[in-house]
């Protein structure tokens, strides 16, 4: 099978994924375990369809690179800067705290100190792929635990480089520090490369992407997206830095650009497939020979290191603090070993610090811990998280379980939804409120609001929330994609309810409009008009005239938006989304100027009865 053409390999991988993942999801186990299972099935210890998993693993690691690029895209530079404390502070606590404890445990069992150091560092690393993958699957990236997990994962990415550089020194520790100048050269190269990426990203990327987008060839834009990730990754690889870290940086640099959505949509499917491939490869690489030879020892090692790491994480979660019901996720998603562990053990084996059998033993331990993570999550969902959320508060907890039948469901209870909700409460209406920021919910509950924890894009949850009986569903989610997903789901499943939606911008407005939503408010329009009124008043306009002008502007503006709606659809296929938005804005302004001129040309009696002197 191994000598077959590449097409046979693709056939095996794709078939395994297509079969195993839906089965796993059907069983409620999540897609990651499906991929891992598929890997074990087709691997050397299953059907033996593929026998050299290490090569696979190398290719598939590209999935992790793509994933970090996407994570970077969601994180504007300011937000990353705001995360510097959790990254270097809590990230270091996790990595070095766990490593220290693990090394001490190993020494207590009289393990050779070099093995203890390598094993501790390798096992202290967590799986970015699993952690961020599950966060994305559960839509928790924006929560406190989500950001904390990202912070720890980023520090591990950064720390992996010195750790990998350190491993060979352990082999020749007696020789002392011979390669001092080499290390400094490496550091200089690394800093130089990061500077090149940041500068290049700031100055060149956007013009380049604009130029490519202008060519109006969608597949070339996709190719350029991939090229961008591959180029940054290989640049980092060249100077011995983490490829994923480079991709992450490139992502952050593009987070503010107008091509963010476009890049996301292009990269997303590749990421999904490569990540799947990665998990399949992990499944394949579990060396069952080692497991079968010493089952008790491997079980003890897996349980031991996961428990030690979980202890460190639990203490961190208490101190940071992470909201109670998110703590389980935080601990479970970082307690397993990760892909960096594989690399560390391989490097250590190559350098002769540890023997090859020990290396594959440790790799197997890491892989098994990765296999355990989704299972632990399923168990936690059932028993641990309800226990956490039920601990102090009323029996109902935060998760919505009892079916509700209020006339209004509010999805998203941030700045926008809260105003809607407060006005409804003030008028004796009790809406069912959903949000997925556990920390905010906890704070709101302290003030007596009945807010439930949940993802409003989930059909089952919305049904429990009473969407099938509600008359109005207020869509106040701030994430555009989720808002549109939720609108689509509601339109398809709960036709009895009218959607009252918040639109972040014009593009969002049109997306909702095309789903048949008619009650849409752009979130900034009315407050901006109030500011415009204040400005006119300060310039000498009568307050009442300023009010009239603002209301008239609003009417024109909304009418123009409607008039441009069909226009927008035609262009969507032709022009890149960003260019299109700009053009629309220009058109909007042009029409406004023209209409203002027309109004001026008229005597002003038909539309604008401003002259008080003309009243009888």
């Amino acid at each position: 099978m191994e000598h077959g053409s590449w097409i046979t390999g693709s056939l095996v991988y794709l078939a395994a994924a297509v079969l195993a993942v839906p089965v796993a999801r059907f069983l409620g186990l999540g897609s990651i375990i499906g991929y891992l299972g598929a890997g074990i099935l087709i691997g050397p210890w299953g059907l033996k369809l593929v026998t050299r998993p290490e090569e696979m693993l190398q290719i598939a690691e590209f999935g992790v690179v793509l994933m970090l690029f996407l994570v970077g895209l969601e994180l504007e530079p300011q937000r990353l800067w705001a995360l510097r404390k959790p990254i270097f502070g809590w990230g270091s606590v996790q990595l070095f705290g766990s490593a220290l404890l693990l090394a001490l445990c190993a020494l207590a069992f009289a393990v050779d100190w070099r093995l203890a150091v390598v094993a501790a560092l390798g096992l202290a690393m967590s799986s970015t792929a699993i952690g961020l993958g599950v966060l994305a699957e559960r839509n928790m990236m924006a929560t406190t635990s989500g950001e904390s997990i990202l912070s720890v994962a980023l520090l591990q990415d950064i720390a992996a480089i010195p750790i990998l550089a350190l491993v060979p020194f352990l082999a020749v520790s007696a020789a002392g520090e011979g390669g001092d100048s080499g290390v400094w050269l490496g550091v200089a190269k690394a800093i130089g490369t990061i500077a090149v990426i940041i500068l290049g990203g700031r100055l060149l990327l956007r013009p380049a992407l604009r130029w490519i987008a202008n060519s109006n060839t969608p597949e070339i834009f996709t190719a350029a997206s991939l090229l961008l990730v591959v180029a940054t990754a290989s640049l980092m690889n060249l100077v011995g830095l983490s490829m994923a870290l480079g991709a992450f940086l490139a992502g952050v640099l593009l987070a503010e650009s107008e091509y963010r959505r476009e890049l996301e949509t292009d990269i997303e499917p590749f990421k999904g497939l490569f990540l799947g491939l990665f998990f399949i490869a992990v499944g394949m690489s579990i060396d069952f020979a080692v497991v079968i030879a010493r089952p008790l020892l491997i079980a003890a090692v897996v349980v031991g290191f996961v428990v030690v790491k979980a202890g460190v994480l639990w203490a961190m979660a208490r101190l940071m603090p992470i909201p109670r019901q998110e703590r389980a996720i935080f601990v479970i998603l970082l307690a397993q070993g990760g892909e960096f562990g594989f690399v560390v053990f391989q490097a250590a084996a190559l350098a002769g610090v540890i023997s090859a059998p020990v290396s594959s033993f440790l790799v197997a331990a890491v892989a098994i811990s990765m296999l355990l993570t989704p299972l632990l999550l399923v168990a936690a969902d059932r028993w641990w998280i309800p226990l956490l959320s039920g601990g102090k508060r009323s029996a109902a907890g935060l998760e919505l379980k009892q079916p509700q039948n209020n006339p209004v469901v509010i999805a998203g209870f941030g700045r926008y939804g809260q105003i809607v909700g407060r006005m409804l409460f003030a008028n004796g209406i009790t809406p069912t409120v959903l949000d997925h920021d556990a920390e905010a919910i906890e704070a709101l509950r302290r003030f007596g609001w009945r807010v439930y924890y949940g993802d409003a894009t989930r059909l089952d949850l919305m049904r429990t929330a009473g969407a099938d009986k509600a008359r109005v569903i207020v869509l106040a989610i701030d994430d555009i994609e989720q808002s549109v997903d939720c609108a689509r789901m509601v339109r398809e499943n709960f036709q009895n309810a009218t959607i009252v939606a918040r639109a972040r911008n014009v593009q969002h407005y049109y997306e909702l409009y095309e789903l048949g939503v008619t009650m849409i408010e752009r979130e900034t329009l009315d407050s901006a008009l109030m500011s415009a009124r204040s400005t006119l008043e300060l310039l000498g306009w009568q307050p009442h005239q300023a009010r009239n002008l603002a209301l008239r502007f609003r009417r024109h503006n909304v009418a123009q938006l409607a008039a441009l709606a069909p226009h927008r659809k035609d262009e969507a296929h032709l022009i890149a989304a960003a260019k299109q938005g700009r053009q629309q804005l220009e058109e909007l302004f042009a029409i406004e100027r023209q209409q203002a001129a027309e109004r001026q040309a008229r005597t002003g009696w038909s539309d604008v009865p401003t002259e008080a002197a003309q009243k009888p």
């Binding site: 339109r491 409009y513 095309e514 789903l515 048949g516 939503v517 008619t518 009239n548 209301l551 008239r552 009417r555 909304v558 009418a559 938006l561 409607a562 709606a565 005597t603 009696w605 038909s606 539309d607 009865p609 002197a613 003309q614 009243k615 009888p616």
Partner: protein
Amino acid sequence: MASPEPIVADDASATPAPAEILVIVAHPELEHSRANRLLLDAARALQAKSSPGRLAVRDLYALYPDYLIDVGVEQAALAAARLVVWQQPIHWYGMPPLLKLWLDDVLAFGWAYGPDGTALRGKDLWLVASTGGPEDSYRPDSYNRYFFDAFMPPYEQTAALCGMRFLPPLLLHGAHKADERDLAAHAETYAQRLADYPAWPELELVEDCVACEVPPNARPADRDLIKEAA
């Protein structure tokens, strides 16, 4: 998914189909109303039964909750009508504020009155009003001190200036205390009259409108003239 309905920019800007009878309803607190809500329902029910182009009902407070009247749409509706009905409660001896604003904005100089202001000439205006106080409170010896007729001249003259015939109003006094049967009977009368128009026996007795010509120099036509006058 079916193609979405058009975005409604503003409830009001949807141009209504032209109709022979235009019922303008103005009640700022319809939710507390007894008489006017019943009357509105009666007019709507009749609208549903009538042939297209016969009757249009415009509830001003529902159309313009923000008091931003769409002048073009309102003028178009007026231009098409033969009978204009103002259905309102009497508040402080006059009309509710939005109806007054509607007059200010829609019955513009040069359109409804003044030079070339002939758009409403020859049409009928019918006031359908309710008062909270009973009929006998509108007497010199009671707390409203004047007969109700004393409050009608602003309405009559508004009609006259626009060249409209002011038909005898349909009044309901003591709307707060009227019992259900009286209210129902009143709504019935209202609907019947709307249905019968223009076949009203008393119409023959109503005189044609007195022409009120506003001389061209009565009002400064533009700013330059104001300056010259000063």
